[in-house]
Symmetry: C2
Amino acid sequence: MLTQAIQDYLKLIYRFEAEGRRPSTNDLARGMDVAAASVTNMLKRLADLKLVTYASYRGVSLTDSGRLIALEMLRHHRLIETYLAQALGYSLDQLHDEAEHLEHHISEQFEERIDALLGYPRYDPHGDPIPSKEGLIPPRCNQALSEAALDVDWVVRRISDHSKELLRYLMHCHLVPETKLRIMDRAPFEGPLTLRIGETEVMVGYKAACYVYVEQVDRGA
Amino acid sequence: MLTQAIQDYLKLIYRFEAEGRRPSTNDLARGMDVAAASVTNMLKRLADLKLVTYASYRGVSLTDSGRLIALEMLRHHRLIETYLAQALGYSLDQLHDEAEHLEHHISEQFEERIDALLGYPRYDPHGDPIPSKEGLIPPRCNQALSEAALDVDWVVRRISDHSKELLRYLMHCHLVPETKLRIMDRAPFEGPLTLRIGETEVMVGYKAACYVYVEQVDRGA
DNA sequence: TATATTTTTTAGATTAGACTAAAAAATATA
DNA sequence: TATATTTTTTAGTCTAATCTAAAAAATATA
């Protein structure tokens, strides 16, 4: 079994690669909250284990087996979040911390049981796709609410779990996955948006709206 | 937070103390599957942390705060086992390994949620008492099936989770908590016992029966 | 009681993962 | 292009937890 530290480094590198960035040593040091020298140290070890390819001063990238481990952790994380929300009634802002610990410590069996119990969910409570056992991540909706068009019916599909404060604010505004809304007005200079959710009007700050991703509601259906 | 190693040492010392034994360095080395020197080393550290009282060559015992931590782990372990059995359908022989890992990694919140969901259970699936938050362990049934009287109605209250093999054998014989039975015959020289469980007769080896604890069924009720 | 055996501890090494300070390489600026 | 700045790596230290081999203490045996 790999250590938790190794799994965490792989996850972090994966996140950078997933958004098309090749992480620098400093990026990883900031992300792991350790000194840059510690990262260099670890990257050598990961390279010895054939989990990354790494050459001094040249940056790092995951090997296939490294990526597989990162994806397994991501799958655990999102499956556990879904379970905590559905089966144990956790709220959106309580999910991350618990899942971050548990993801390293569940067995294959546990994973399978909760997956089955939840009915093999494809998305976690934030709307992020849960990687399948085969490791593929299906595409996801990427239209920020902050930039979405007025006078159209939208449904929230995904929110970022950037921070607990953000999540609490979004919960307060009812901006959680599956909420249907219309944008009534958008103040100039990145000002607040006025939304209609059901019968009520809601104001949301521009910045927060950047972390909410919406999809157009099918007219026909 | 204490390390997992520390928690495991405390648990092991607790188990010895619970059966009235004062563990020797060698006892702990065998139990932890490490060298005796490693135990000496760790005992010094535990003593520094005021989790045990320890003097060279004099053996070890838990302090109140050490015992509290051991009890918290035991509570986690048994609560998790109960949860895995009730909510996720684990069988008796699958409980221990998963709980042994998870017990170190759940939050206070997780503990409370599963406790509530299970209806604040007092016994785990083996029939062992789940320590309450206050740390008290209620008494438990201690009459071994191997020594129990014939021609009386018994109910299994507790089985030891000595090993997976034992548990599988007991499951096969239907000797699990809440099973009602009568002892029909006991072969001499620690030979097998013949039981009547409901309509059917079951034979069980003497040794296995030593790990099954029974209580007399109330005549009136 | 004296000696032999067993148990426990000490001493010193190892590994994973962190640290700081200094050196080296890469990049940016004049 | 030469110099300054930033980034990365090297070198050496630290802690937790383990190990082995040897020494010391406790216990058992003659």
